[in-house]
């Protein structure tokens, strides 16, 4: 239901009055601030602001633009699309550039107040793509204010928000060298860098890492989580995502592989509960994403949601979403902390969406699943040396939000001819439900396994958003069937070795093209979808395709199929995110010109009740960052990072025309 314009206007004026009177408590998000990457520590991406609604959305205009200060670094390495989400606190927007420079901007005009460059761009070139900083974190004790950034150059930087200068009391002149404190000294450090912002809870800065996936050696850096004192930069604790000598779960890393394995990192964003003093770590796959013969066992804490006590760094509880992962099913996004009521029982919950298209929901204090999560048998592997877990966890509720696995029934049947072609293509692949094992290329006459949702499918790093007032979770997902096999490294050139026989791993991945007939997708639509899940009930509220998809493809145009969802093959990439406000959902879809180049962007308002597109605003900039919103001096703004690469990289802030709200 849309609020009437008059109603919306009244609320807006009331909000403006409250702000002008200065009576809004500074820590209250109602004041219209955006203090953390996900809006709040719970990663809700929610704002109670309501000045902008579906009715006035078409009147949005560009209030200000700020060109990324990376322009001055022309000649430094490429960072591609500009995706960083800014914060807004106390009338100042704090923005990271892709190279990890930090700027303070006037929230009303976008005028740059200061810029600090930690010179990350001049340090060792990180090997893992994409190379870009995704944002900053804010901290205050009520007086001092600090902005933190973790750079690709392995620096944790504390910047005084008042001056834009590094805090001399923190680390070495404001910087902690993240190359240290990892507890290892024999790893290739070019493979580890930092992209996501740290999170700060109870005066503790918690930092994840980004680690190169395609390596042929053991001894890739491990993804251990580090925590530092927010004032001094002293290391408070290190949590071993791969357990080390004397710690529980080393037995889940057979062959003593815990000694040499790496990755198992948290490359995406974090969430935390200040009251409980817990931080929630969504971890990724161990080294060699697709073959685990050298790491027999469940590999705890890989592909897990780990709840850690922020004072001690000790795990409180954990849940492994994939045992002994070989499908690159990293948990790619921050979990959402939300208070729900299930069967009349209030639960402080944490909901984790994943590439698997499952939503895992737990009591966030105890780790007890809100609805049963069953261990169900899954097939064994035929790959020599690969021993898979006999079972994998399947949440009984909520239902998956995207297609899982593939059978012949899932192949397109737009026309009999297309279906025949799809059957022929699919016959080269091993089909099966989610967790279908990978095969050696050629095994059983198949080139590989069709992995669905695929490493690029399900919910990627934008993750889900939550309306804390309703307990409804909104998640954007892709169906990305990926043909994957493994090949012996003894006699193949692979992604990580140009000379056969030089890899530490017996098998490595080989992707197999799995495009459908005539450039159409192989599987039935939708290819990208937006799902609303009521976390109180564990049920879908609605699900809609996101974007037109290939509906105008010559082979099917005559069928007038409606929206099919714009998957990866339509040029869509997993970026951005869903902004939830009191009134609407805000997101964007990429717009491609005939050369498949991004051609401007469209900011969209969606109905929270139905997912239908209610309004759109076009802007001459391709949009890439997660949209955020804030209010300043009575005016609500929506800011999005866009451009980058060959386009001008800039933050674009939208607002209603002055005097028009």
């Amino acid at each position: 239901m849309k609020p009437s314009p008059v109603f919306a206007c009244g609320i807006g004026l009331a909000l403006a009055g409250a702000l002008l009177a200065g009576c809004a408590p500074p820590a209250d998000p109602a004041a219209g601030e955006w203090r953390h990457h996900g809006g709040d520590l719970a990663s809700s991406k929610y704002s109670p602001l309501d000045q902008i609604d579906a009715a006035n959305f078409p009147e949005l205009e560009v209030a200000w633009r700020w060109e990324s200060a990376d322009k001055r670094l022309a000649g430094a390495y490429d960072t591609g699309n500009y995706t960083a989400t800014p914060l807004m606190v106390g009338g100042k927007v704090y923005a990271a550039t892709s190279h990890g420079q930090v700027a303070a901007l006037d929230a009303a005009t976008g005028e740059q107040l200061w810029l600090y460059d930690p010179r990350s761009w001049a340090r060792e070139l990180p090997t893992q793509l994409p190379r870009r900083t995704r944002g900053v974190e804010y901290w205050t004790d009520g007086e001092a204010e600090r902005i933190f950034v973790a750079t690709m150059g392995k620096q944790l930087v504390s910047i005084d928000a008042a001056t834009g200068q590094p805090d001399a009391a923190f680390g070495d002149g404001g910087i902690v060298d993240l190359a240290g404190d990892l507890g290892v000294d024999d790893r290739v450090m070019a493979h580890i860098s930092h992209s996501a912002p740290p999170i700060i809870v109870r005066d503790t800065v918690v930092v994840g890492s980004k680690i190169h996936d395609y390596v042929s050696e053991n001894r890739n850096p491990p993804g251990h989580i580090r925590a530092y004192d927010v004032r001094t930069g002293a290391l408070k604790w290190r949590f071993h995502t791969i357990p080390q000598e004397g710690e529980p779960y080393t037995e889940t890393w057979g062959n003593d592989s815990w000694k040499v394995q790496g990755n198992t990192n948290v490359w995406t964003m974090l969430a935390a509960d200040e009251e409980l003093g817990y931080v929630y770590l969504p971890t990724s796959t161990p080294t060699n994403d697709y073959y685990g013969g050298e790491r027999p066992g469940d590999n705890v804490y890989a592909e897990s949601l780990v709840c850690v006590d922020v004072e001690t760094g000790k795990p409180v509880w954990h849940f492994q979403t994939v045992h002994h992962g070989i499908w690159d099913y990293d948990i790619a996004s921050a979990p959402n902390l939300v208070d729900i009521v299930v069967d009349g029982r209030p639960i402080k919950a944490v909901a984790q969406v994943s590439k698997t298209a499952f939503t895992y929901v737990f009591d966030r204090a105890t780790g007890e699943p809100v609805w049963p999560i069953e261990e169900r048998p899954v097939p064994p592997s035929t790959v020599p040396g690969e021993v898979l877990s006999p079972t994998q966890p399947f949440p009984t509720k909520p239902p998956p939000f995207d297609r899982q696995g593939a059978s012949e029934d899932d192949l397109i049947d737009f026309t009999p001819e297309l279906r025949a072609e799809a059957l022929e293509i699919a016959s080269h692949f091993r089909l099966g439900p989610i967790f279908e094992p990978l095969i050696v290329e050629g095994d059983g006459g198949k080139v590989g396994t069709l992995v669905v949702p695929g490493a690029g499918g399900g919910a990627s790093f934008p993750g889900a958003s939550v309306d804390p007032e309703t307990g409804i979770l909104y998640v954007d997902s892709f169906t990305s069937p990926t043909g994957i096999s493994v090949v012996s490294t003894a006699d193949n050139v692979t992604q990580s070795q140009s000379e056969p026989g030089t890899s530490d791993f017996a098998y490595e991945v080989k992707y197999q093209p799995a495009a459908g007939p005539q450039g159409l997708p192989l599987l039935k639509p939708p290819y990208r979808r937006l799902t609303a899940i009521d976390l109180n009930l564990g049920e879908h509220v609605w699900q809609v395709p996101q974007g037109p998809g290939p509906k105008d493809h010559p082979a099917i145009k005559h069928l007038n199929l409606g929206l099919l969802g714009s998957g990866h093959s339509a040029g869509a990439v997993a970026e951005g995110g869903i902004l939830v406000t009191k009134t609407i959902l805000v997101d964007f879809l990429p717009t491609m010109d005939e050369r498949r180049q991004a051609s401007g962007g469209h900011l969209r308002a969606l109905d929270k009740a139905t997912g239908q597109v209610l309004a759109e605003v076009a802007v001459d900039r391709s949009l890439h960052g997660a949209p955020m919103t804030y209010a300043h001096e009575g005016r609500q703004y929506i800011a999005v990072a866009g451009g980058g690469g060959r386009e001008k990289a800039e933050l674009v802030a939208f607002a209603l025309p002055e005097g028009g709200y």
């Binding site: 322009k71 001055r72 670094l73 022309a74 000649g75 430094a76 390495y77 490429d78 460059d117 010179r119 761009w121 001049a122 340090r123 060792e124 070139l125 090997t127 893992q128 793509l129 190169h212 395609y214 690029g456 992604q495 990580s496 070795q497 140009s498 991945v509 992707y511 093209p513 450039g519 990866h568 093959s569 040029g571 990439v573 997993a574 498949r596 690469g645 060959r646």
Partner: protein
């Protein structure tokens, strides 16, 4: 600026409540004075308080071209007004105490040239006017310092094309001229015509009053000159000699070889000579000192031209190449490289690469030396690096495209559009499009990616130099361009490169950059300190390559930036210890100036960056003690 304008400015300063507590002290000449002392008598900033220095003002000179522009200019301060040049050589004037802009002047015509400074010429007769002069490529502009407008009384319309004095249209003036009494003197040099002194290069003296030619001396000249007013002698450094010219008529007094540069290292910037006094057999002798790119300091008697001290010059840097042994791996690789290459100066490049030491950019460049006259001490910054000169033989039957097809097309497609143009985000399923690569990556970056790999792309370190160069050429060419040069054998000289290790650090033994103090009386090095670091290795402490010069103060401080770590530093002139440093927004590849305005002493400089990697900058910054 006329006398009345000066009074007006003084009155304005008084009226605004900025009454100077101490008289203003200008910096009216490039490098401080006609003797190019790079020295200030000011003592307000001293060893005890230098750590308190703060940014006093910052001026964005505009015209920034990110990733492209450099800004070598050292500004002047005349009558409390700071004048400088932007990256594209627009002139501007600021209140030297506040950084407030007073005027800007945009020279007409394209300005893809650099310029290291300006020239102020003080009126000598009641009928004359003060002039601010600077060159943009070949054209000399004369401005009214008060208004920034072209001065019509000079050369007809305030503009003079200096290429009319030499037979070459490609004249590219880099150094400011020298005020010598009623004359202003310029060294003109035409790239490529240095050997033809009769037409290609000359020193010309123009009358400051109207720009008319006073005299012309045919000789190649590159560097800024020093002027001895008492003797009316000009000391002009060329690529190979130091000349002493009679400033009255341009007659050659003496000429001494100092550099000995061969044809493979032309276009080396040379330092301005410094007028010094040395002791010879216990007797003070007026001398002129020139530090060189070869890392030697030559000192001559100003009158006779007789060398003082070692006729071959006093060595300031290592004489012979030694490979870096920073780590065992680096030591192994550098020693191996050195065995592949022939070593020797002034010899043609070879296919394997000729190792040249000192290399291009080594020794002391145009930054010159800063003199502490009372202590008889000269402070110079030096660089020790090796260059590799390669000749690339391209055999017949070879084309750039074939190298691409052989190594890259498998992942990036035969037409460079990427293997799966519709799935650009899936690098795992094929390489991305390389169309327009030159707009996204620098050639250095492209080379890095080829050599080291990136993401899922393996390193192509097995390519030889010929293949890599061909590949870079092809990747940077337009997609539609025909690339079939395969039918004939060719040869090309690769641009000289600095020998580097796998981390991009110089491949010779450190120090790679040093600041040193030379006792002119004893003829010995008093102290030497590492100068600069690399941003990639900020704590190494082995010195770095450096561009730009030092400036000294009577309070015993030496200020110098010049390094890739983008810092301005203050050294103790007595022992070389670092007393203060500040981050600059871009590398300060110019020479700082020191002056007093509004009762405060300032240290100011341009931070133009654009060398040794990003960023470029357009800021002028002035540092002072808190008021």
């Amino acid at each position: 600026m006329s006398a009345s304008a000066r009074l007006a400015l003084a009155a304005a300063l008084l009226a605004s409540g900025c009454a100077p507590e101490a008289p203003d002290v200008d910096w009216p000449h490039y490098l401080g004075d006609p003797g190019r002392s790079q020295y200030s008598e000011l003592t307000e900033i001293d060893r005890a308080n230098v750590a308190e220095l703060r940014l006093a003002w910052r001026y964005d000179a505009g015209d920034l071209q990110p990733g492209v522009s450099i800004m070598d200019s050292s500004p002047l301060v005349v009558d409390g007004v700071l004048v400088g040049l932007s990256p594209t050589l627009a002139a501007f004037a600021l209140n030297a105490a506040t950084g407030e802009e007073l005027w800007r002047f945009r020279p007409d015509g394209a300005a893809n040239c650099v310029q290291r400074g300006l020239l102020f010429w003080r009126a000598r007769a009641e009928s004359d006017a003060d002039r601010l002069l600077f060159t943009v490529c070949a054209v000399l502009f004369a401005l009214d310092p008060a208004s920034g407008r072209l001065d019509d009384a000079f050369a007809g319309d305030g503009r003079l094309d200096l290429s009319t004095f030499v037979d070459g249209a490609r004249l590219h003036m880099i150094e400011p001229g020298t005020a010598a009494g009623e004359f202003i003197v310029f060294g003109l040099r035409t790239p490529g015509l240095e050997d033809d002194a009769e037409t290609g290069s000359a020193v010309v003296a123009l009358r400051g009053a109207d720009g008319s030619l006073a005299w012309r001396y045919s000789a190649g000249s590159a560097g800024a000159m020093a002027f001895d007013a008492e003797r009316r002698l000009l000391f002009a450094p060329t690529q190979s000699d130091l000349l002493a010219l009679d400033a009255a008529n341009g007659e050659l007094r003496w000429q001494r070889p100092v550099i000995g540069v061969g044809q493979w290292l032309t276009d080396q910037a040379v330092a301005a000579p410094t007028l010094v006094t040395v002791a010879s057999a216990g007797v003070p002798v007026d001398a002129v000192a020139v530090p060189t790119r070869q890392g030697r300091l030559h000192v001559f008697d100003r009158d006779s031209g007789e060398p003082l001290g070692d006729p071959a010059g006093m060595p300031l840097a290592a004489e012979a190449f030694r490979p870096s042994a920073r780590t065992p791996a680096v030591a192994e690789r550098m020693a191996h490289l050195a065995t592949l290459m022939e070593e020797g100066p002034n010899m043609p490049p070879t296919p394997a690469g000729r190792l040249m030491f000192p290399g291009l950019g080594a020794g002391t460049g145009w930054g010159g030396g800063a003199l502490l006259p009372d202590a008889g001490r000269l402070i110079v910054n030096v660089q020790e690096t090796a260059s590799v000169l390669r000749r690339i033989e391209i055999p017949a039957g070879f084309s750039e495209r074939s190298i691409y097809m052989q190594h890259c097309a498998r992942c990036h497609g035969a037409d460079r559009e990427g293997l799966y143009p519709d799935r650009p985000e899936r690098y795992g399923a094929g390489g991305p499009s390389l169309i327009g690569l030159g707009e996204r990556l620098s050639s250095t970056d492209i080379r890095t990616v080829i050599e080291r790999g990136r993401g899922s792309m393996p390193a192509f370190d097995q390519l030889n130099d010929l293949e890599r160069l061909a590949l870079e050429t092809y990747l940077l060419s337009d997609a539609d361009e025909g690339q079939d040069d395969s039918r004939r054998a060719r040869s090309l000289q690769a641009p000289p490169v600095t020998l580097r290790d796998a981390d991009g650090l110089p491949g010779n033994a450190p120090p790679w950059g040093a600041l040193m103090a030379i006792d002119l009386v004893a003829g010995s090095v008093l102290w030497q300190a590492p100068l600069g670091n690399y941003l990639s290795h900020p704590g190494l402490g082995l010195g770095s390559e450096n561009v730009g010069g030092p400036v000294a103060t009577a309070s015993g401080l030496v200020f110098i930036a010049a390094t890739p770590d983008m810092k301005l530093r203050a050294f103790d002139a007595d022992d070389g210890s670092v007393l203060w440093e500040a981050d600059l927004p871009a590398g300060g590849y110019s020479t700082p100036i020191v002056y007093r305005a509004g009762g405060r002493q300032f240290v100011a400089m341009a931070a133009g960056g654009g060398r040794f990697g990003p960023p470029s900058g357009a800021d002028y910054l002035a540092f002072a003690l808190p008021p």
